[in-house]
């Protein structure tokens, strides 16, 4: 038996590395874990965790991961992420705990300033936000430019929004409530995510820095879904449907995105952006990003491997026959 086990181990060691696909949810090489949620968790406030992990993660050789559970009483929360020393190996991640993908809702109820968001990342690199629902809602009239996510100054490493649901935006009286903004040389990767139901504002705005949008859905954005003012932005495998406009700016590099309204979802009106069984527009029409130079990955918003068919699907979901839909979050 020992010889057999040794032989198996030797064979496994010889197998090529790509057998394990890259997840879009990049994790630190080593990390500490804390929990967020209701009573009994480590933290009930995002900002206290952020403060507690404002450390030199590189020197410590440990990243910091906050696992979020949807057992907190609903209340407005926002967080400013800034100050930890990070690199591509050791960084901070806020993600849903396994089994609770997109069920943890970070929702700020109030007016935010122009440089702010429910999640504000300023001058910190490589921050990961995975499998969360992030939104804000406003109930007072205010001419302010407010967002779910605001990214600025992370010049040495992009922040990553993966498997997230941005929106719906609930705003009464404010003319511009948008999903995200990249400003001040910020860097942002959005992958396997859904940006939906912004009845007043924009999807994601890029003033400068870099915006890299992969395998995501932009649906029901009143103004422009992807707005780029400055440097080249990249969109691959995205579905843009039911928006006031899809793209703004001449600098977009667009590859295999669907903008003709033909993609069929399971139930977009109810927030389910899985590809329907009958869809023929997005299935197997995407670009393989598993060897992408900037952000290689091989899974979808549910963590399912891509591709399932002959080629990658377009959008956040890789269609699999006979699988249950993702958790549906009512639009309003």
């Amino acid at each position: 038996m020992k010889r057999l086990a040794a032989l198996v181990l030797a064979l496994v060691a010889l197998l090529p590395a790509p057998l394990l696909a890259d997840s879009a949810r990049k994790m630190p090489l080593s990390y500490n874990v804390a929990t967020f949620g209701g009573p009994g968790r480590d933290y009930t406030t995002l900002q206290a965790w952020e403060d507690a992990t404002d450390n030199d993660l590189v020197a410590a050789g440990k990243g910091e991961v906050l696992l979020c559970y949807p057992d907190s009483a609903a209340y407005a929360q926002r967080v400013t992420i800034s100050g930890a020393v990070t690199n591509a190996s050791y960084f901070r991640v806020i993600r849903a705990a396994p089994g609770f993908e997109r069920q943890v809702v970070l929702d700020y109820n109030g007016v935010l300033g122009s440089y702010d968001g429910t999640v504000l990342v300023t001058n910190e690199n490589h921050v990961g936000l995975y499998d969360l629902s992030i939104r804000h809602h406003i109930s007072t009239s205010a001419s302010v430019n407010t967002k779910d996510i605001f990214i600025q100054g992370n010049t040495a490493g992009a922040c990553r929004v993966v498997g997230c649901r941005l929106g719906p935006s609930v705003n009464t009286g404010s003319d511009m409530a948008s999903a995200g903004q990249v400003y001040g040389d910020g860097r942002l990767v959005v992958a396997d995510s859904v940006v939906a139901a912004y009845p007043e504002g924009y999807g994601i705005i890029q003033n400068n820095g870099q915006l890299y949008v992969l395998s995501s859905v932009f649906y029901g954005v009143n103004q422009t879904a992807l707005y780029s003012q400055a440097a080249t932005s990249i969109a691959v495998n995205c579905v843009l449907q039911g928006n006031g406009a899809n793209f703004y700016g001449a600098a977009w590099l667009i590859t295999t995105c669907k903008t003709d309204g033909t993609v069929s979802f399971v139930n977009a009106a109810a927030g389910d952006f899985h590809l329907s069984d009958t869809d023929a527009s997005a299935k197997d029409h995407g670009t393989d990003l598993s060897s992408d130079a900037i952000f290689p990955f091989s899974d979808d918003m549910d963590g399912d491997l891509r591709p399932q068919g002959a080629a990658w699907d377009i959008g956040a979901d890789e269609w699999k026959p006979g699988t249950a839909g993702m958790v549906t979050i009512p639009l309003f």
Partner: protein
């Protein structure tokens, strides 16, 4: 209870709806998580949180987490404040270009008896909030007003208001 004035259920409903949608601030109490000690000196400015910093303000009775406790944190109750005002108390401090200057704009003066005395802080009258922007002392209500974003019509374009 026999002599209590009878109020019909529809009347209660109307009152509740009117209150909820009136847009008027509702005075309440909030349990605010306050840093009891400075973050280590190894944390570089402007991200370093200091003792007294208001980290989060949650509804009265909030059960904080296992790591939101002493010696790093204290909980101070601030009353006579609207929910919206309570949220503004935990805003970060930024300069006019939007760059972060401190992780928390407001701090409570932990040495002030109005804070350390064990009784709730009156958000309208007790000037115990230190504004990190100009080091002035403010009541919680004044601090919230100072942190409220300025309405700016130019913000209504994607690059505007910046």
């Amino acid at each position: 209870m026999k002599n209590a004035t009878k109020i019909s259920a529809p009347a209660v409903l109307v009152f509740c709806l009117a209150t909820a949608f009136s847009g008027q601030a509702r005075a309440d109490c909030f349990d605010c998580l306050v840093r009891a000690a400075d973050e280590p000196a190894s944390v570089a400015a402007p991200s370093r949180a200091l003792a007294g910093d208001l980290v989060a303000c949650m509804p009265q009775g909030w059960v904080f987490g296992q790591k939101e406790t002493a010696p790093e944190y204290a909980v101070v109750r601030i009353c006579n404040l609207s929910g919206e005002d309570a949220r503004f108390l935990t805003a970060p401090a930024k300069d006019s270009e939007g760059a972060l200057t401190a992780p928390h704009r407001f701090a409570l003066d932990l040495g002030d008896p109005a804070v350390s005395g064990g009784t709730p802080v009156d958000g309208q009258t007790a000037a115990v909030c230190i504004d990190r922007v100009d080091s002035s002392r403010k009541t919680a209500a004044e601090a919230a007003l100072a942190a409220r974003p300025v309405e700016d019509p130019s913000a209504l374009t994607p690059g505007g208001g910046q």
